[in-house]
Each structure stands twice: as C-alpha cells, then as structure tokens.
Point group: C2
Chain length 640, copies 2
C-alpha cells in the first residue's frame, strides 16, 4: 500500500496514511478530533476541513456551499488522500487538546494477524479416483463390484473397499455405459484402535470427472453461516460465501433455538432452515468459482454444540438441562442427501467434534486452527461471542470453559447495541474538553446503533476522560448535555437523532454499562480461573489469540482498559479471524488434522465454571473497571 503524509494544522501533527484512505479515518488514527456526528455518511456536514496543500479525491459533498468548496473545504468523511497533504482543522480555535502522540498511535492498535498453519500434504477424508477397469471376459468374469474393488487395489493401492447395496446397484449400468471408465468416490473411514483406513465407496459414476475435486468447509454460527469451496488438488480456497443463519427467525440465541426445537416439528423446521442457508452458500460458491456441483466430495461443518445438533437433527433438549449432556459429539460420516443438502449423491458430511454442551466443534476447530495443541507456548485462546468460550494451555495440557458472558459484546442486550454490520458505530474519539464524540460507522452509513468494538472504545475513553467512574457510573458534573438523565438512569448521548439514521438519540445507559461489566467480568474471571487451575499466572502467558472477525477490529488498549483482555505486552496478542471456519478448512485438506480435532476434543478438559467456587469470587472482583485489584492492570492509567 502506498503511503502519504498528512499534516494536521494548527496542531502540527503528521500522520502516515494509506493512499485512498478517508481523511476521517486518518484523523482517527492520529487522535485528531474532528466533529463527525453522522458516522461518516456525509449527512451532517460537520466534518469540514480545509486542504491547505496537496489534493484529495472528493466524493459526495452536497453539504458544502460552493464558496467553501472554492477555498479548499472538503468533508473529511468524503475525501480520499491522494498524496502528501496539509489539512487545517477549523475547530482548533476552541483550544481543544490533541491526544498525546504516543497514545494516539495506539488508538487503533489491534492485534497482529496469526500466520495460518500450513498443510504439508493434501490427504483428505474422501478420495476421488479416475479409474479404468478391464471389461469382463469369459476368462475373467468376476462380479462387477469385485472388479471395481480389485482395480482400486491393484491399480490404485486402495483397500479394503466396502460399499452399501445402494451404491453397488448403480455399478452394472454405469460401468457398461462408460465402457468401464469410471470415477469412484470414497469416504475414508478410520476407527479408533485400528491403524488401517477403510474405504467406503460412495458412488461410481460414468466416465472421468473433469476439473479438480472440491470440498466445503462450513462454519455454522448461531448468527451467521460461512462457507468455503476448496480445491482438493491445490488446497486453495476457490470461493467464499456467507449468509445469516435463517434459524434467526426462530430465535436469536442458542437457548431460544432449543426452546423452539422442543415445539412440535420445531427440530425438523430448524434443521431444514439451516440446510436451506447452507444450500444457498453452496450455490453461491459454485457460481463464484465456476466449479460443477458434481465435483464436491464432502463437507466439514464446525459449529457450537447446539448448532451441530440442530444441523444433524439431534434433539437438543438435554443440552440446556443440568448436567448439560449432548446427544453425541463424535459422529461418523453422514450422507449429505439425508440431511437435505444439495450435494452430489456421493457427498457426505462430517461435523467437527465438540467437547461439551457449551464448548462445541467451533471451538475445537479453532484450537485446531490456532495450533496451540502443537505448541510449547502457553496460550490463551478467546472467542468473545455469546457464550465467551476460552481455551488455555499448550501441547501438554488444554483446558476449556464457557463463560456465559452473554451477548453484550455482540451488541445484544444493550438499548442501542447492534451487530457489526453497516451503520454500526465502530470507532469513536471523544474530545477531551468538550466531551463531544467523533464517530465512524461501518460502511459510513448513517448511525443505527453501536457494535462491540465501538462499545469497548467508548467505555475506555470515557474512563480515561473520567466521564465514567471505575464503578460504571457517570459523572454528572461535567457541564455537557451529552451526559443526561434518561429512562434507565444516566446515559451518554453518542449520536443525536438529527445526525443518526433511526430518528432518535443513540445512547449508552448505566444499565447497558452494567451488562458490559458483567460480560467482561465473566470473561476475565473465566480465564483467570482456568489459568489458576493449571497453575499459570496471567503474566506468564506467551500468547493471547483472539477469535472472530471482532478480533481484527478490537483496540487492544481499550479492551485492556475496560478489563476485558489481560494487561500484557501488546505484541503477545494475535487475531485469527473465523478460526472455526479455518479449522474446518484445515481438516478438509488433511484427514490427520480431522483426527487431531477428534483427539483435541477428547483431551480438552472442560471446566463447568458454574460448578466452580473460585469463579464466582473472581467474577465479583472483576465487576469494576478495569478490576478491583488495579495492580492486575499496571498499564491502565485512568487519570487523576
């Protein structure tokens, strides 16, 4: 990416920007406060700045009068940096202090991406063989099926081969119509305690298939379905697609889905809905990649335990009743068509094995992907989702727990919370003197609400500017109408009705703050608890790996400031993105990694935190920003 120097005057701060970056983003990077109330939508017209030197690309600027344009004014949210420029920020005359330079650099400091693990050799759970058998003759009239079996053994070193009657029935006609030039699809079955694989013939089709064999890696999220089509010859991802999980219509979270599943025909309906979503994903990746459906050999699906149960049609009833028992975790290959998936006849599905009711195949898949099972480094792996799953350990020992953190960091349960989708306020910079917020929304759409990363950012800044006390209560003596009494106690106005896209003020209430405090306390006490069980101090952690798309956006300083992440050197943090999907992809490419996922699932010690006495003590102590024991967060200075 080409770089450009952007000098802001009168503060005389120079920020390095990417060419093409929006000026508003550059200001956020540099800690330069510019009024920006609509989130970057070009709607409020407040983020006026003047280009003193150099030039920018102007986007929508109908909020500017022609005279202003003529003398160099632009909207910061509607101007792209083309080269080195000098920008004058008009409001500087108000005497606003710039955020100190070293702190500003860290304003948007996120974790470094993890390097993706490598698959040394592609060796998938299913194989496709282009074969040619000798035609029967009077001197060689072995049966059709045994002829296939023999050819696979002699010419392809594949044995033993077994097949169901349905598959056998197809052979005689297919073989003769194709003159014994055939494509055999086999699922590779491995059984515990047996070294040799068994090849289960799934189909024998006419002629030789054209193009590479492909497979699907799928992540079945409670909210979102993700899918990838993978070329099994090269290991490359050919196409990617995502969809909301259509089950959302039957409930937002896993508990409401379970409740729905227990209604008459509920389970059946939920099963069909998720399959409908997956079929759309399959259609999309085929369309994008131009690959034929026939070439899809299998699918590996990772999901939490509830999602996996609903996908397979397993009754989730006992997942939510103590002692929280799944129906099954380690499941043999399932023929895809029996689930309603629009895959070829030979296609089958394997699900990533789970550990417990609230630690599912998605987490096992994540552990597979992050490689902590094969590392000496003492690692903390966190997935800040609805449940807040945590894994700690290394190759010697892995321990996991689900924190019941609740959906606050996904925007759930907050008055104006929302998912990270267009219109969500994701970045905020508060003017330290006026307490006015400068906001940036996703896709620079008019603000609809606030998402997880925005929440972390705003709380952290409010703590530092002492708008908010460590107890989660607002100061009311600041002389700003941004903090005011509301329906649920005091609240801070993030966006006014006039600047946003919902026709009312977007606020963060003390009740919201209470929810967030509980969520971060649940996470913090969860991993503290697990670490103490394996006798490792937080400071001794070698790495913290953050899962989820969230992980790439989260501002580490802000997350440490509110006490969500441990106060460690920032270079110990890594983000891994959708590790559930990544693990599924790895398992698609190498069956030994699928087997590794199975052994990870078996070896992961699951701790039921609700049954643990120290967890509640830890939780209570963490209901404070960043924590009642400030010494646990030495880098956090909340001003004086």
């Amino acid at each position: 990416m080409e770089k450009a120097q952007v000098r802001f005057i009168p503060d005389d701060v120079t920020v390095e920007a990417d060419k093409g970056q929006l000026l508003l983003d550059v200001a956020l990077d540099g800690g330069i406060f510019i009024r920006a109330a609509c989130g970057g939508a070009g709607a409020c017209g407040q983020c006026k700045v003047r280009i003193v030197e150099g030039s920018v690309e102007r986007l929508k600027d109908d909020k500017l009068d022609p005279q202003a344009k003529a003398v160099g004014y632009v909207l910061a949210c509607q101007a792209r940096v083309l080269g080195d420029i000098t920008v004058e920020v008009p409001e500087a005359k108000l005497g606003r202090k710039v955020i100190p330079r070293d702190e500003a650099v860290r304003m948007r400091q996120t974790a470094q991406p993890m390097e993706s693990p490598l698959v040394a050799e592609i060796n998938p759970l299913a194989v496709r063989v282009l074969m040619e058998a000798a035609a029967p003759s009077p001197f060689d009239n072995v049966s059709d099926y045994e002829r296939i079996v023999r050819t696979l053994k002699v010419s392809h070193e594949i044995e033993p081969v077994v097949a169901s009657l349905d598959v056998i029935k197809q052979i005689p006609n297919n073989a003769r119509e194709a003159d014994w030039k055939l494509t055999a699809y086999m699922c590779v079955d491995d059984y515990p305690g047996i070294e040799k694989s068994v090849y289960r013939l799934c189909d024998v089709s006419r002629g030789h298939a054209q193009g590479p064999p492909t497979a699907l890696a799928v992540d079945i999220g409670t909210t979102t379905l993700w899918g990838e089509l993978i070329n099994l010859d090269t290991g490359k991802v050919l196409a990617r697609a995502s969809r909301y999980n259509p089950q959302i219509a039957m409930g937002d979270d896993v508990i409401s889905r379970i409740v729905y599943a227990l209604k008459k025909d509920g389970l059946d309906r939920l099963q069909k809905e998720v399959v409908t979503g997956l079929n759309e994903i399959i259609d999309e990746v085929l369309l994008k990649s131009g690959q034929p459906r026939e070439n899809i050999i299998f699918m590996i699906a990772a999901g939490n335990t509830v999602m996996t149960h609903l996908f397979l049609g397993l009754n989730p009833r006992y997942l939510r009743q103590s002692p929280y028992v799944p129906v099954a975790q380690h499941i043999q290959p399932v023929p895809a068509h029996t689930l309603g998936l629009n895959m070829p006849r030979h296609g089958f599905v394997r699900v990533m094995p789970g550990v417990a009711s609230y630690v599912g195949g998605d987490i096992v898949s994540g552990v597979l992907a992050n490689g902590m099972w094969d590392s000496d480094e003492m690692t903390l792996f966190i997935d800040i989702g609805t449940n807040g799953e945590i894994v700690v350990g290394n190759r010697d020992m892995l321990m996991t727990a689900s924190c019941s953190a609740g959906p606050a960091f996904e925007g759930g349960g907050l008055e104006y919370g929302m998912r990270a989708s267009p219109g969500a306020i994701e970045e905020i910079l508060i003017d330290p003197e006026t307490y006015e917020p400068m906001i940036k929304t996703m896709d620079t759409r008019p603000a609809l609400g606030i998402c997880g990363s925005g929440i972390i950012n705003i709380i952290s800044q409010m703590l530092k500017l002492r708008i908010l006390g460590p107890n989660g209560k607002y100061r009311t003596d600041l002389g700003t109408d941004r903090v005011r009494g509301g329906r649920s106690g005091y609240e801070y106005v993030i966006a006014r009705a006039s600047d946003g896209g919902i026709g009312e003020d977007i606020v963060l209430t003390e009740v919201d703050l209470d929810n967030i405090t509980r969520a971060k306390a649940a996470m913090f006490s969860g991993y503290t608890c697990l670490l103490s069980k394996i006798g490792v101090d937080v400071q001794a952690l070698d790495r913290v790996i953050i899962a989820g798309a969230f992980g790439s956006f989260i501002n580490l300083d802000h997350a440490v400031t509110i006490g969500l992440l441990p106060d460690l050197p920032r270079d110990k943090f890594r983000f891994i993105g959708n590790s559930s999907l990544l693990g599924a992809r790895l398992a698609v490419l190498d069956k030994s990694l699928y087997q590794r996922a199975e052994s990870v699932a078996r070896s992961l010690t699951n701790v039921e935190l609700s049954e643990d006495h120290s967890y509640m003590d830890n939780f209570m102590a963490a209901l404070f920003f960043p924590h009642t024991r400030a010494e646990l967060f030495p880098s956090v200075k909340l001003g004086s």
Copy 2:
C-alpha cells in the same frame, strides 16, 4: 424304532419292518411284488393280501367286501404292521419270481446321512448386550452416545463401536425412559486385511430384552424357501418352516425369472415376492417357537446367484449374457427393513457369497456345511437340481462347475414329471414276468405324476429287465400293453387313468428318456471333467456327498445303474439334506464360519464347462445307460 418280522408266503421271504410301517412299504423293502396301481391311496383295491398270522392295524378298506375282510384280507397300502405277522400274497400263483434276496436288500439302499459339523463356540455376526450405563452427572456429562460407547468398552470389552445418525437419534429418549438400562444390538463388521472387528450399533432399545437372542438361517431356493429360527444362546434350532417361492408365479426357473426381472417393475416385483414369502416364514417360525420378533438379531440367506440378486434387488441382466457376470458376490450387511423384511429395526441381513453366475451362495453354503474345505478326503459334492452344481476337491483345492443338467430330475420337462410332492410316484417295483408296476406315491395320494427318485428307480429297473435298452429305446416285443406306441414314440404306462388321480394314463416316453439321458450325462461328464482337471480318478474319490432332500431318497444302486452317480462302493456315499440351509445355520452361529464361506467362495475355482472342449466329448460318451464305456460301471449288470 421297534422292529417286527413280516413273513411273505408262498415265497417264504421274511423282511424286518418297523412297527407302524405300511405293509406295502415292507413289501417294497423286501422286493415282494404286490399289485398296487393307485400308489397306495386305497383307491384301486388291487393290493389285497391275507393276514395268515398276527394282526395289523386296518386303515381305510372300503374297497374290500365284508366276506374278504372276514377271512383276513387287508389292503397292503392300508394296513400298519403291529407285530410279527405272516402275509399271503394271492398273485403268487401266477408263478412270478421273487427278486433275489441280496438284490432286494439293496432295492431301497440310500446313502447314509452325514454327521453335522459342530460349532465349537457360538460367536455370531451380531451381538446383543444387556447393558447398564451410569446416568449423567455434573462430574460426568459426556454425551449420550459416547456414554454408550464407553460402557460397552469398559463393561463389555466391546470396541471400537460406531453408529449411524439414525441410531444415535434414538438414544437420548430411550436411555432416559429406561433409566440407562438398555439393550444394545451390534453388527460385527470385519474388513479384509484388518484383524480387529468393528461393532456397528444397530439399535439401543429400552430395558433389557427378555429371552434368548435369535437369528434366522434362510435358504432361498428357486422353488422353495426354507427358514430356521436359531437360539443364539444354545445354538438350537427353535423352529423351521418352508414355503414355495412366490416368484414361481413369474417363472419356474432362473432364466424365466431373469426375463421377468428385465420387464418394467419386474425386478421390484420379484424382490417383493420373495420377501413376502420370507416374511411368512418368519411369522411361522415365531409362532411355532413362541419367540418374540424383537429378539431376531440378523438373518443369513443362502441362495443361488440369481435368487440372491433378486432378493437384494440387484439387476440380474448380465447373469445370463456371456461372460455371465454377477453384480456382486461379497456384500456388506444390509439393514433388513430396507429389503422389506419384517424384522426388528436392528435386524440386518447377510447373504452367502457366491462364486459365479451359476455357482451361487447356496453351493458355497453347502461346501461350508459339508466340511470338504477342511478335510483331507477327496470329495465329490453334487447338488442335482436344475443346474446340477458340482464341487470336487479337499482342503488343498476346490473346483466347481455348473452342469446345466436341466430340471429332469426335478420332474421338469417330462410329460408327466412333477416335483417331489404329495401324489408323486416315488417308488416303483416292476414285476419281472408281467412287467406290471407296483407303485407308491408320496403321502399315498392318488398318483399325479412321477418325481425324480421314481424316474431313477423305474429306468434302472426297466434297464435290468431289458424293457429298455442302453440306448434309451423301448423293446416292443415283450407282449405287454404297458409298452405301447404313443404321441411321442414308444412309451411305458406307469399308471392307468383308472388308477391315477389325473384322469389319463401316466406314461414315460422316449422323449422323456432322452431328456433324462442328457441330464445324467451332463452331471456325469461335469464331475468327470472336474476330476480330470485336478488329476484325480473317479475311483480315487473318498466320498460322494449328495445335497438336497432328494439325496436322502435316492436309491444308490438305481442311480448308479442309470449312470448318474459314479460306480463306487456304496458306503462312500453320504447325503446331507438341505446343505445350503445347514451352511447358513453354521454361519449364523459362528462368524468365523461366515468368513470361511467368504474365503471358500474366493478360493473355489469355477470352471465354465461350456468353454471346455473335453466336456462335450465326455457328454456325448455319457448319452447311454449307464455309459458307452461299460467298464466305468463294473457293478452294473443289465442282464443278458
């Protein structure tokens, strides 16, 4: 059986009889000719004899006038021997010669039964386990399915266990309703080259099953279905049943069934028909034994290759087109319900593996049952059915062929031939002076036709009495109206219209004789051919084992006389009954015997006689009674 001495005068021949035996049978045993035209039905009233000393039980005797009864006359076919008696045969005054005593003893000499092989230890292809798993608790909340798997491993030493989704789905409710007291049904899968068995969970049902686990051994004959219900705890046969194969309505023999199968929906219909018949057999053995259906764990079915294909719904098209290729021979367990069998959900079916299109699982099952695969004795095993399958060899080498003998020995293709069923003429004694036949029918019903053993007996006697020449042509200078010109050349009248049950004369024509000559020549040249291939002379055979119900009725001397069986000391012959059913039973009891059947099927060298040059030469030479080379049958004296 208590014995009695029956003295016939005026010939003064004493025959040992079983108490309760019909007097007509005793006379047949002793070679005493008594006029008996209706076959023993008590209809013709010709078999009058007078009890001179001792007493008999009289059955139906309305054909006798009261005065005759008063002086001791009885109908030989309607009188049971109660103790030692003396019987006067009225017709003796005609000067008829008695058949020499030593020859008479051999008149009804049949082969000795084979001793059934023993199963040392019952170790079937499926297991039923009465199990009790610990209920889930907060300290042990492994999934339901893994809980079952773990209990089977820890408490029952069964592993690895796998299951399909359908089976897994049933577990949660069943386990909780039965408080984790369960019955697990597993199919034991073995794979080539893998020593350890895999246990495939077929069902987990509530509570502990009551009564012994049972299994079905089934023989799917072209004509008849046989089934046995076997107690898997004791190895005992609990009940037995048989039925005509309902497919008969779609054709008598395998070729016509194949033709039917190729019609629209034909295969489906044939499949349903045989399953209907088997379901009736299942109902009957359950009724007879008082066992619950739920206790049936699996079925092993043996049948010829066509029957096996039709039972499984495999297309038989290529079985009758050169090079005669089956769809499959070695087939994994098939869930019983998918075939339409009325067996429990956990029930599955295994079929006996076949060798070639015309050497099927019934023959492999027979070889398994007769033990020749484990014997040093050089053995000839023959099944004189429609196809006339032959196996020769011993533990070192086994060779097989199908002779295309045709159905003549089943009564097929003969003007008045019929199967061995009530009303079939099965025994015949021809008066050496008058050439009048004394006949006995099955179940002493009015004669309807002549069956295989009757045909062998009559031809042999006609050859000895020179009614018939070695070339299969009648002598016409005997001065009896029993031999006469008919529609198809000369014929011998076995039963007159007035004495039989069909309203017309029952005759044996020269065309019939030609069919029989070809059938016996096919068998003889078949085994001669196989023996020469392994370099063994007929005389070097240690044993001849005859399969089929037929085998227990066949008169060895007669069968040798016509050249069907080799001329060996009679103590080398054994009959084994329904060896196909017996082999299935053995395989039910011991899975290592099922595996043995699989290896027998693989090691049996199949010889296509139609492709063999020496076969046709041998066949031509055998179109003569007993053979053109009389030295091959030294014991056969056809008079001078």
